[in-house]
């Protein structure tokens, strides 16, 4: 396996775009990464297209990638449709990275697009609820906010983490989102506003959850030579690891810990080497668990990280400088690639008002999706090195 490098990265603004279709959301980020990478688009050898719900929402099934790329103009080459719930974009990245790393191709495109808004919210919610085993947990109306809430309760009981600490994650991510022109929500919120917003699944309130969204993101992966020729800071993929749920016994490490451990080994670093992270805060409280599962702190210590400002912009380890899913938005298939985009922008000093200083050299992305047998169905962890 050889090293792979991230060339251009791009995302649309996330939000509610009833007037935009899948093709519109694909067009802009794909052509942005082509121009930015300074490559001949004819040299792209393979495309992996991540999308989770467009089949259910728009009715476009089977060949969504081919259809999305029709207007873009990419035809003839292999186009692989990738579906892995909210980690579809990360899965596309994982595959594009492997394709280049194996030496099979030199230039691979990962594209993620999602359109969750339609004129029928019930339809959108129903589509999202299919990311469970519809024969088992799904039969009883498994609810993602509910699953997170249950984890929050268990965690509060065991470690004494407070609602205020969960609320602070929302405050932080909205604060970051306010600085991000690509974010769905650019308003700031206070702890009181978060705690007093509509109750969704006690203790999770509306402002602790991520919104539905439409959007697209793309990343080109190529060789070291291409990265150098591009004229921007080369960003190497140190690790890209994907894992699935297991029937874990009580007190066995969960999927995120397992996948992260493997990623650290693959990249040859330790959790405390990470200087910036984009993580899957589908519900802001989850971000705290992720600090622990990703090894940023000991179990039960995550509340301290948010209280002491360590994971805020300006802290020692900024987490979700983009605003995260909570503020930036969560168009499922695009999310993983948008997370990677943010880390690359931070490493290339292209993050505008939310630029981390000093410029980070080692970044981590964690992206999860679905739920089976009480575990997250898919988790991807990527580690990137700015050279």
């Amino acid at each position: 396996m050889r090293d792979t490098y991230i060339l251009g990265v791009s995302m649309t603004r996330f939000g509610k775009f009833l007037d935009k279709g899948l093709k519109d959301l694909a067009y802009e980020p794909v052509w942005n990464v082509i121009y930015e990478s300074k490559i001949d688009p004819h040299k792209i050898e393979i495309v992996f297209v991540g999308n989770a719900y467009a089949g259910l929402i728009t009715g476009q099934e089977s060949i969504r990638g081919q259809v999305m790329l029709r207007e873009v103009g990419i035809t003839r080459i292999p186009i692989i449709n990738v579906e892995n719930a909210c980690a579809s974009g990360s899965t596309a990245f994982f595959l594009a990275h492997k394709a280049v790393a194996s030496g099979d191709v030199d230039l691979a495109l990962a594209l993620g697009v999602e359109k969750l808004f339609c004129d029928d919210t019930g339809k959108s919610l129903k589509a999202l609820s299919t990311s469970s085993d519809i024969d088992i947990e799904g039969r009883m109306g498994v609810l993602f906010a509910g699953i997170y809430s249950m984890r929050v309760r268990a965690h509060m009981e065991r470690y004494g983490i407070t609602k205020e600490q969960f609320a602070k994650v929302s405050v932080k991510n909205h604060e970051h989102g306010a600085l991000n022109p690509y974010a769905q929500y650019r308003n700031r919120v206070t702890v009181d506003e978060v705690l007093n917003s509509r109750m969704i699944a006690d203790p999770i309130t509306l402002l602790m959850t991520c919104p539905m969204g439409d959007g697209g993101a793309a990343v080109l992966i190529g060789t070291k030579e291409m990265a150098k020729a591009m004229g921007k800071r080369p960003v190497r993929v140190g690790a890209s690891v994907l894992g699935s749920y297991g029937f874990i016994r009580k007190d066995e490490p969960n999927i995120t810990s397992r996948v992260a451990q493997k990623a650290y080994e693959e990249a040859g670093i330790k959790p405390n080497d990470i200087q910036v992270a984009e993580v899957h805060d589908a519900v802001s409280a989850v971000e705290l668990f992720l600090y622990e599962e990703l090894g940023f702190c000991e179990p039960g210590e995550s509340g301290r990280l948010i209280d002491e400002g360590i994971t805020w912009l300006g802290g020692r380890l900024p987490v979700n400088p983009s605003g995260g899913l909570t503020a930036k938005g969560h168009p499922a298939g695009a999310t993983g690639l948008a997370q990677i985009t943010e880390i690359v922008w931070q490493m290339r000093q292209e993050a505008g008002e939310r630029q981390i200083k000093p410029v980070p050299n080692i970044g981590l992305v964690e992206n999860g999706g679905g739920n089976v047998a009480g575990e997250t169905a898919v988790v991807a962890v990527h580690i990137l090195f700015g050279e």
Partner: protein, 272 residues
């Protein structure tokens, strides 16, 4: 006149076990039951007890009818009972027909035969008897493979346990996902009780479910697995605490297209 059936058509396995080739009686009964509207599976002659037990499960029959003409009825019943026990299917009733001396009736029933129909019995009698023992409502699980029991009012959670690694699973499954072996897994009845690992009373619910929508994970007793379930009978929520004792409650959720009762499992707090 339209007769509304509140249960499915009985399925009957007619079998002959061992070296007994006298199949006229078995065939007469098989045709008779068929003509009475039942679904009949006929094995033919020279079957083994294990094959009959397996067929009974695979065909999901309500009753097994054994024809015996050569005096082997006691041995046949004993072996068949053993095979059914092995497959956790001892609740399938077994009835006998053929040449069976009256002095053996008591012993045969003790071994597990639920009825004996000697020569001269009318098909009508057999039909009525089968209807009487299959009169329980037939049901289907909301979650396939999750519940077991012949009587809708006495169902239990069905799980699996791997003999090699010792892990338990719910619902029941075909192999052990750790050992990746079909031969190490067996079906087990899981405990009807457990402790609440965590829970939520959500103020929103997916389409088709009402609010409040309460869900939890229950760590089943006796080393059972942690299972996801909807919660019920929790009052205003104050009865629910992490670590509190929870009990299984079987609920009826309407009927499917074949008019079978759909049953589901829920958990409720047990106040001691």
């Amino acid at each position: 006149m339209v007769i509304k059936k509140d249960r499915r058509i009985p399925r009957v396995l007619i079998a002959k076990i061992g070296l007994d080739g006298h199949n006229r009686g078995a065939q007469v009964v098989a045709y008779g039951l068929r003509d009475a509207g039942m679904e009949v599976i006929y094995t033919g002659i020279r079957q083994t007890p294990s094959a009959v037990a397996r067929t009974a499960i695979e065909e999901d029959v309500d009753v097994i009818g054994i024809s015996s003409m050569v005096g082997a009825h006691l041995a046949v019943m004993k072996k068949l009972r053993g095979e059914l026990d092995k497959l956790n299917a001892s609740d399938i009733p077994v009835i006998f027909g053929g040449i069976i001396p009256e002095e053996d009736y008591e012993e045969l029933k003790r071994l597990g035969a639920s009825a004996i129909f000697p020569p001269g019995s009318q098909i009508k009698e057999i039909v009525e008897y089968i209807h009487s023992i299959t009169k329980i409502d037939t049901w289907v699980c909301e979650v396939p493979g999750s519940l077991v029991g012949r009587n809708i009012d006495n169902l239990h959670l069905l799980g699996s346990k791997c003999d090699r690694c010792g892990q338990t699973f719910f619902p029941s499954r075909r192999n052990c996902p750790n050992c990746l072996d079909e031969n190490t897994i067996k079906q087990i009845l899981l405990s009807d009780e457990g402790l609440l690992h965590t829970y939520v009373i959500a103020s929103v619910a997916p389409p088709g479910f009402s609010v409040p929508h309460a869900q939890g994970y229950i760590d089943l007793s006796k080393d059972g697995p942690r299972i996801f379930s909807l919660l019920t009978d929790y009052g205003d929520g104050s009865k629910l605490r992490i670590g509190c004792k929870m009990g299984l409650k079987i609920v009826r959720l309407g009927r499917d297209k074949e008019n079978r009762i759909i049953v589901g499992y829920r958990f409720r707090p047990i106040i001691e």
